[in-house]
C-alpha cells in the first residue's frame, strides 16, 4: 500500500504539520505566515490522498532503460535561483523573494519531468503526460507575466507624461501594434527572424519605457493633487473656489423622499416638505439622523446652499472621510450651481438645537435676510 511516493508525501505532510504547530506556538498566531503554512499543509494532505488513491502512482514494472531521459535545463535554472537567493540575502529582499520563486518553479518542473519520463516506455506518452500536468501552470503564468509587463509598463509611461501627451502616446502605441500586425499579415513570406526581431524590439521598448516611467514617477499635477487633496476642501464662500466648484453637478438621479427641498426663487428661500401644503421656513430634523436636503436654484446667479453645523460640532458626513477636520469653519455646503440646477446635501446633526448658541440655519451666500431654520429637538 505505501510505496515511495506516498511515503514521501506523508512524510512531507507530517513535517509541515510540525512546522505549522511550531510556527503558531513560537512565532505568531493566526497571521499571514500561519495561513500560508496551513495552506501548504492542506495542499500536501490533498496530494498524499491523491497519491494513495491512485495506488501510489507506481507502475507495476520499473522502467528498464534510461535512454528515454532527455536533457533538462531545470538543474541549471535551479542553481541560478539559488544564486539569486543568496545574492538577495546580501543585496536586497526583492532578489531574495525572486530567487525563492525561481527555485520553486524550477524544482516543480524538474520533479514533474523526472516523474513523467519514467512513467512508461512511450516517450510520446510521457511527454503528453508532462504537458497535461504542467501546461495548465505554464500557460497562465507566461500569459499573466506578459500581460502584467505590458499593462504595468504602459501605465507607468502614461503616469509619467503629461495628460495630452498621454493620449497621443496611447494612440501612437495602438496604431503601431495595428501597423506591425498588418505588415506581418500582408507579408506571409517575412523571415521569422525578422518577425521575432521586431517583436523583441517592441517588447524591450515598452519595458524600457516602463522602467523609465517608474524612474520619472508621477507627473507634477498628480503629485500636487495627492499632497493637497484638492477636492476634499469645501470652500463655502460666496465666490467660486478653484477646485471644489469646478464643473459643478447640475442634476440628481436619486431625488426621492428627501427631508426637504430648499428652493431659492426670486430672492426668497423656502423649504418644500411632504405633508405640509405650503412652503415652510423651519425644518424639524431628528437628532443624530442622516438627512438629505435638496437645494434647487431658480436664481439667475450661481448660488450655493450653506448649512451651519452649530457650535456644538455636528458630524458632517461630507468631511467624515478625513479626520483632519477640513471644514474648519463649522459649516458645509453644496457647490456653486447655476439657475435650474439642483444638488443634494446629506448631514447628521448629532446635537440638539438647545445645545447650540446660535440657531442652526440653511442659508445662501449673497442672498440677504433669507434663512431656513433647522430645528433639532
Amino acid at each position: 500500500m505505501f510505496k515511495v511516493g506516498s511515503k514521501l508525501f506523508l512524510g512531507l505532510t507530517g513535517f509541515s504539520t510540525l512546522t505549522l504547530v511550531a510556527y503558531l506556538v513560537f512565532v505568531e498566531r493566526l497571521a499571514l505566515g500561519g495561513v500560508a503554512l496551513s495552506m501548504v499543509l492542506a495542499a500536501l494532505v490533498g496530494l498524499s490522498a491523491v497519491i494513495i488513491m491512485i495506488n501510489d502512482g507506481d507502475s507495476e514494472v520499473q522502467p528498464r532503460d534510461a535512454a528515454l531521459v532527455r536533457a533538462s535545463m531545470w538543474p541549471l535554472v535551479t542553481v541560478a535561483g539559488f544564486v539569486l537567493l543568496v545574492l538577495g540575502l546580501v543585496v536586497a529582499k526583492v532578489y531574495f523573494i525572486f530567487g525563492i520563486v525561481v527555485v520553486l518553479a524550477a524544482l516543480t518542473e524538474w520533479l514533474v519531468q523526472a516523474w513523467s519520463e519514467s512513467a512508461s516506455d512511450d516517450a510520446a506518452h510521457n511527454e503528453s503526460a508532462r504537458r497535461r500536468l504542467l501546461h495548465p501552470i505554464e500557460f497562465p503564468v507566461i500569459a499573466t507575466l506578459g500581460l502584467g509587463v505590458v499593462i504595468f509598463a504602459f501605465s507607468r509611461i502614461m503616469l509619467a507624461i503629461s495628460k495630452s501627451a498621454g493620449a497621443v502616446a496611447f494612440i501612437v502605441l495602438a496604431s503601431l501594434v495595428l501597423l506591425v500586425g498588418a505588415i506581418f499579415a500582408l507579408r506571409p513570406a517575412l523571415k521569422t527572424t525578422l518577425v521575432s526581431g521586431i517583436c523583441v524590439v517592441g517588447a524591450v521598448g515598452i519595458v524600457a519605457g516602463g522602467i523609465a516611467g517608474q524612474g520619472v514617477g508621477l507627473r507634477a499635477d498628480l503629485v500636487e493633487a495627492l499632497e493637497e487633496g484638492h477636492y476634499t476642501h469645501r470652500e463655502c464662500g460666496e465666490e467660486k473656489s478653484k477646485y471644489f466648484d469646478k464643473k459643478a453637478m447640475k442634476t440628481l438621479s436619486l431625488r426621492t423622499n428627501p427631508i426637504a427641498v430648499v428652493e431659492l426663487r426670486d430672492g426668497v428661500l423656502s423649504a418644500v416638505m411632504t405633508g405640509f401644503n405650503d412652503p415652510q421656513k423651519s425644518v424639524s430634523v431628528p437628532r443624530g439622523n442622516a438627512v438629505t436636503f435638496i437645494f434647487r436654484n431658480f436664481d439667475t446667479a450661481e448660488r450655493r446652499m450653506v448649512a451651519s453645523l452649530g457650535t456644538a460640532m455636528a458630524v458632517d458626513t461630507n468631511t467624515e472621510g478625513d479626520k483632519e477636520g477640513h471644514s474648519d469653519t463649522n459649516e458645509t455646503c453644496t457647490q456653486l450651481i447655476p439657475q435650474g440646477a439642483e444638488q443634494a446635501l446629506t448631514i447628521v446633526y448629532s446635537k440638539p438645537s438647545i445645545a447650540q448658541e446660535a440657531p442652526l440655519t440653511l442659508t445662501v451666500p449673497g442672498v440677504e435676510g433669507q434663512a431656513i431654520e433647522v430645528v433639532v429637538p
Binding site: 411632504t274 431628528p286 443624530g288
Partner: protein, 417 residues
Amino acid sequence: MNHRGSFGRRDTTPFSVVMVKVRRLGQRVLVATGAVAVLGSCATNAPQDTWQPKGPNAKMIDDLQQPVFAVAGIIGIIVSVVITYAMWRYRDRGQPIPEQTHGKPALEITLTVIPALILAVVGVFTFRVIFDLARTDDTELVINVTGQQWWWEYDYPVQNEWGITQPIISSGQLVMPAGTKVLLRETSRDVIHSYWIPALNGKRDAVPGRIHTLRLEADEPGIYAGQCTEFCGLSHANMRMEAVALSKEDFAKWIANQQAAYRAPAEGTLAKEGESVFLNQCVRCHQVDGLKRPDGTLAIAAPDENVWSGAAPNLTKLMTRNTFAGAMFDLLRDACRDDVWKAKSAEFGAKYLAGVDETCLNVNDLRAWLRNAPEVKPMYANPALLADTNGKYRGMPNLGLSESDIDKLVAYLLTLK
C-alpha cells in the same frame, strides 16, 4: 396490465379520499365564513386584528378586501368541489381507456376570460383606494416618527393652530386627536422599520434616509395596538407601539402638559437624590428638558456619543405615558392598565391623562429594567462586542445600579409627568 391495475386497488378507497377533501374543505369554509361572521361582532380578538378597522383609512382597506376574500373563498370552494367530484366520478372502475382528447380551446378561453374579468373589476377599485390612501394634501396635524433599534420616537413640529409652540418629543405611545387627519412623516435612524397600527391603517416602512408618509385617523378616543413589522434585528419582536386617540379638548390638555416647564423635586426628598443619580447615570443618553446640573447649567444628553442610533428616549414627561422600553413593558400594573384600555371612549381621555402614579406603577418591570436592561430585552449591549460600532451601544446597557439607587431613580421618575 394486471399489476398496473392492482396499484389502483391497493390504495385507500376513493371514498375516504372524498371524505378528507370534504374535511379540508370544511376547515377552509370555517375560516372564511366563520372569520367574516365572528370578527364582525366579537371584540375579544387580538388587539392587532386586521379585520376591525377603527378609522376611515383602515375602513377603506377593509371594504376593499372583504369582497376579495369572499370571492376568493367561493372560487376555492368551487374548484375543490369540482376536483372532488371528478375524483369520485372518474375513479378507475375498470372502464376502458378513454379517447385521447387534447382539449377544447373554446372552453379553455372561456375559463380564462372569466377570472380575468373578475380581476379586472377588483383592479379598478384597488386603483382608486391606492390613490386615496396616498393623499397628503388634506392633512390637519403632522407628526414626525423616527424608528430606531428598538423603539419609536415621536416629534411634534411647531404647529401653532394646535398650540404646539415648541417642539415636543415623546416615545412609546403616539398621542393624537381623534377624528383628525394625522400625517406621520416616517424615517429611521439605523435599519428599516415598519410602522403599523392595524386598526387605523396599513403599514408603511420607515427607511433611513427617506421620508415616508402614513395617514392615520381614529374615529373614537381609545388606545390602538401596533407592532414593528419590518425585521429590524435582535429585539424586532419587542418593538411595539400604541396609538392613543384623545378628544380634541383632551389633546389640547395633553399638549399643554407636555410643554409645561420642568419641576425639580423638592429638596431632601428621595426623588431629589434620584435626580442626582439620574444626572450621574441616565443623562448620558436620556434627555429631560429643563433638568439642570448642580452648577445651574442645562443637562444635555449625548446619546450620539454612547448609542449607535444617536438617540435615546426623551424622558421629560415619562409618567404621562403608559409604556416604556419601546412599549415592551407597561408602566401601569395590570389592573390599572385594563382600566385604561377597556375604558368607554367617553371616560378614556380623563383616565389616560391621569398618567401613572405610585399606586398604579408597574414597579417590578421598571426595577428589573433599571437593574439590567439587556437581560429583559435582548440588545447589543455587551461592551466586549462593540468593535464595529466603535464602542457605542445598541440599546440600553447594564448600568450596574445599586438597589438603593434604583429606589431613588424610581421615586424621581415618578415625578416626571
